[in-house]
Amino acid sequence: MAQAPDLKLVPTPGQTVGPFFGYALPYEKDSELLAPGHPRSIRLHGTVTDGAGNPIPDALLEIWQPDEHGVVSQETGSLRRDGYTFTGFGRAAVDNVGHFTFTTVNPGPTEEGQAPFIALTLFARGLTNRLFTRIYLPEDTEALAADPLLNAVDAERRDTLIAEREADGALRFDVRLQGEGETVFLAYPRES
């Protein structure tokens, strides 16, 4: 990869999403990347907790992912879903007990042998800027073992990036903002 040049402009600072995004950012079927009950669909869910282990009732999560064949969608219609077009984007506000649910598909590897993952962004009251992380699938142990990011993370924290597969095929991914099992959050090279 060619080295990207330094930024010419200084990025605008982020700010907390605050508690009152609830009537602005959530929308109908926002967390349904495809219709629940669709034969391809899986549930992706988990709880967002704070440093005391308490659930955060005012967090918002977004996911962005390829389809099960590893294809990155560039289709519009994420905000007004027709029930058929897979746009790869979803948004979910947590409920009163900090729990979120997406209906989606297992992401496929975008390149042969690569460990597939879902990109996740987290927003919350009390969180001064958005956080990024990745949700890896637990199955492909060979690809996981070879993944550059997972290999760069401290061994004992690595599992915070890997979802758990439940008996019904659902993916469980809990987000812990701090404390025991604190999720690994990411920064990208050109952030500021």
Binding site: M1, A2, L9, Q15, G18, G98, E111, S192
Partner: protein, 270 residues
């Protein structure tokens, strides 16, 4: 109940003087250090709700991979052009000072962010959100919801017509009031550029008192969140105007010589 957010009841009894002292100390410590910070601190104790909600470990530097190097696509199917006018969503005129907020969304390389989604939300002219958990005893405006959306134009431009929001109280400490602000949500050309921020109005006396605005410890950096009053946007007998440009981070996609050429051409256009 454990699901109550970490709003320490003791914290709400702190005085503004206590909070301001903490903010000032952080500012002095920052001024004495030699590095420049351009983003808010995730750990900013004067914003009490951040205490249990900031990661304690350093962020892991990631080389972005395929999905992160693309952004979700939004378009006309998602957003109707009239959604950028927050004053026509109901049967009557909202109360307050009608304003137009216009600007451009650029990336850190100076390239316009075209065809991307901007979402915005805000309190009304009395400082009240149309949200069931906002119990601030100020009037709700039946003609104002305070939500807008737009898709950026070919030069990254956007324009919203809305009502100037008012300051409102919150429970961070005793007598805590937020400066008037509008929340903005933005996407770039990569998912790594996703951000949410707040736009403020020039000359607000609450800036120095506000622990959220002050999470950005660098004075120049936080001024980037303040819009400029712009009389060329102001229109005759209709609305006052503000200009606010937003810069996202740079794209992380593999850089080609032609990208540099594009960036240069865009710069010359303006």
């Amino acid at each position: 109940m454990s699901q109550q957010p970490a709003l320490d009841p003791a914290a709400t009894m702190d005085s503004q003087e206590t909070l301001s002292r903490e903010i000032q100390q952080i500012g002095e410590d920052y001024a004495a250090q030699s590095t420049t910070e351009t983003q808010p601190r995730l750990n900013f104790p004067p914003y009490r709700s951040s205490l249990l909600r900031h990661p304690t470990k350093s962020l892991q530097l990631a080389d972005p991979e395929t999905i992160e190097l693309w952004a979700p696509a939004f378009g006309e199917r998602d957003v109707h052009p009239l959604e950028a006018d927050l004053t026509i969503q109901h049967n009557g005129e909202p109360i307050g000072e009608r304003i137009v907020v216009s600007g451009r969304v650029l990336d850190g390389d100076g390239r316009p962010v075209r065809g991307q989604l901007i979402e915005l939300w805000q309190a009304n002219a009395a400082g009240r959100y149309m949200h069931k958990r906002d119990q601030h005893p100020a009037p709700l405006d039946p003609n104002f919801t305070g939500v807008g959306r737009a898709i950026t134009g070919p030069n990254g431009e956007y324009s919203f017509t809305t009502i100037k929001p008012a300051p409102y109280p919150w429970k961070n400490h005793h007598n805590a009031w937020r400066p008037a602000h509008i929340h903005f949500s933005l996407f770039g050309t990569d998912f790594t550029q996703r951000m949410i921020t707040q736009m403020y109005f020039p000359g607000d006396p609450l800036f120095s008192l506000d622990p959220i605005y002050q999470t950005i410890v660098d004075p120049k950096a936080r001024e980037r969140l303040v819009a400029t009053y712009d009389h060329s946007i102001t229109s005759h007998e209709w609305a006052t105007g503000y200009n606010w440009d937003i810069v996202l981070t740079g794209s992380n996609r593999t850089w080609m010589e032609s990208d540099l050429g594009d960036a240069h051409a865009d710069e010359e256009d303006h």
